[in-house]
């Protein structure tokens, strides 16, 4: 029989992260790591002046 542990939000990091772990017995049977935010910076960059790119990208 397995137990699922969810830690969301992971704190003391930059960004929004969700960690789920399936524990069977005393072992980790499965684990998931999921970024919980999508902003689409790559999509936003398309078609813009390339000199602006570093200024956009550094805000990821």
């Amino acid at each position: 029989m397995s137990k699922k542990i969810t830690i969301d939000p992971i704190t003391r990091i930059e960004g929004h992260l969700r960690i789920e772990v399936e524990v069977a017995g005393n072992k980790v049977a499965n684990a998931w790591s999921s970024g919980q935010m999508f902003r689409g910076i790559e999509v936003i960059l398309r078609g813009r002046d390339p000199r602006d790119a570093p200024l956009f990208a550094q805000r990821t």
């Binding site: 830690i7 939000p9 935010m37 999508f38």
Partner: protein, 313 residues
Amino acid sequence: MKEEKDFYERLSEKGISRRDFMKYCGMLTATMGLSASFIPKVAEVYAAPRQRPPVVWLQFGECTGCSEALLRTMYPWVDELVLEIISLEYHETVMAAAGYQAEDDLKAAVKKYQGKFICIVEGAISTKDNGIYGQIAGKTFLEIANDVCRKAGAVISVGACASYGGIQAAAPNPGGYKGVSDALGIKTVNIPGCPYNPVNLVGTLVNYLLLGKLPDLDDQGRPLFAYGTTVHDQCPRRGHFENDEFIKEFGSKEAEMGYCLYEMGCKGPDTYNNCPTVKYNEGTSFPMQAGHPCIGCSQPNFWDQMTPFFESQ
């Protein structure tokens, strides 16, 4: 009194002289546009706080730059000062708890201080497809903001993202991101910038603790003490602008001589902020001083309105 004595002793143990602290109070008082006679009163706000307002800091669609600006660049001892004059109940980047325990802390703080806490928001809120592009603990940013912000005494949106939508709201805004005021339809104090100058947030909080009210705001909810004048009107390179002395190329002789950056795309004339006066990193420098044109980062939708950054409009 004893509390003040303890405070100065604590600072001294951290290697901060009373002189350093008074210089900081002087800087803050001047930034707020108050006369020098307020300096000892500002010092008292820190040394013998009469109240520690609870603060809940929410982070949504952001890069955490606004938190980093406050925590890392202000002064090495900002934790001793700023975090002690408020009672920081929730902040995902620094709090000890994680997961369900962090959420319990948030719920408890909102319940205990309902109507009284200051909610500081960093980051924009996704509104497309019911806001599923941003979630914390299984709830969307929109759900969390609707719940927590509406129960706060005041909401302060820090940074371009919380104020106006920020980078993720730039065309074509895939996630349907909006600033807090826009997404919830409520009035917020806005302290925009990318990042904002953290001195302006501290000034706003200290103004509140000192005078019991928020500073005078402009029609966009921005504190007038910080956003009342354009960057161009405070710029040390203004003389070069008036004399038609422009840099045409980075690395040129003109660049070395510190000429005006207008033709390199500087958006200073269209931008309201106090960067040339207060500067960044303990008053070390600001973009034009370092030779980079202003990108207009405290204006609404600057990612679309002020780009291309290196072309003058």
